[in-house]
């Protein structure tokens, strides 16, 4: 049997024409695409982008620094070595702790959700 460089013979070509010519058309279903898309699973949870991670990291660092400074002042006050009671701002300590907690949760929750869907 003579074949071309793809290994296809004249008989193959004629059979291909016959199969294509005699094939019944695929039944049309205009809703097929919509039905398929409706069966797709829900979208994945949004994963944090780089700017969001950097912003949360900066908040964490600043909050951590404020907390460290205020805690040092608090300890100095307890040892009566602080120059002034005005150095201590308990509200600032609490605010910094809250900021640090929020930033940590902001980073951790999407990661935990994606790890345990």
């Amino acid at each position: 049997m003579k074949t071309d460089r793809h290994g296809i013979s004249d008989t193959d070509r004629r059979i291909a024409d016959m199969v294509r010519g005699e094939a019944s058309p695929v039944p049309r279903d205009e809703w097929f695409v919509n039905k398929t898309l409706n069966r797709l699973p829900p979208r994945c949870e949004r994963i944090l982008g780089l700017p969001e991670i950097i912003a949360a990291g900066v908040v964490l660092v600043i909050s951590g620094t404020v907390m460290a400074v205020e805690t040092r002042h608090l300890l100095q006050l307890a040892e009566s070595t602080s120059d002034s009671v005005a150095d201590l701002n308990p509200l600032m300590l609490l605010a910094a702790a809250a900021c640090a907690l929020c930033a940590a949760l902001y980073l951790a929750i999407p990661v935990l959700k994606n790890a345990n869907p």
Partner: protein, 184 residues
């Protein structure tokens, strides 16, 4: 029919942005190819074809990030569709449409006297194709209708290329005598 560039763009949108409209365009472009292969495999059970075709596209969507060799998206889809049919058939053992894929080995003599080699006397090409076992039908459909090479068919079906050639030889014997009747 999508160009390669359009196809790549849509795949990139699906991977990077989870763009379902882009995936919808891919489904629209390849639905007929996938459904045609499944129609051939299921002997025209349209309801089953739609179900398997949808499963095929859902699996493709879920695995699209792992797609290697993006230029072969159609081959990849056909592979998923073929294996979806095989899985369905294995789940429903009562369905006898599938035969052991090892029934045609290159080392086996082709004239072993089994019924697969008998010439087709029916004048209807579609009926002649339907008389073939499922893997041979898939191979014949992919080679003669979709124009796939033996290597691509081997990728789609997971069959060794020698087995694909063997199936094609059998199909050729069965179909060749219809040529004159159909004036091709």
């Amino acid at each position: 029919m999508l160009t390669k560039v359009q196809e790549l763009k849509l795949i990139a949108l699906c991977v990077a942005a989870d763009d379902r409209r882009a995936f919808g365009q891919l489904v629209e472009a390849y639905a007929d190819d996938v459904r045609r292969l499944l129609l051939s495999l299921t002997k025209s059970d349209v309801a089953l074809v739609d179900d398997l075709a949808q499963e095929t596209f859902i699996k493709a969507y879920l695995a699209i990030r792992s797609l290697e060799g993006i230029t072969r998206f159609r081959t990849w889809l056909m592979r998923i569709a073929y294996h979806e049919f095989i899985s369905h058939t294995r789940r429903n053992r009562s369905d006898k449409t599938i035969v052991d894929i090892a029934d045609c080995d290159v080392d086996m003599p082709d004239d072993d006297g089994d019924d697969d080699d008998r010439p087709v006397t029916d004048a209807n090409v579609a009926d002649a194709l339907m008389q073939l076992p499922a893997p041979q039908r898939a191979v014949t459909q992919l080679f003669y209708f979709d124009g796939f090479s033996v290597a691509r068919i081997s990728t789609v079906t997971g069959l060794p290329s020698g087995t694909v050639r063997c199936y094609l030889t059998r199909a050729r014997k069965r179909l060749a005598n219809l040529l004159d009747k159909h004036r091709y």
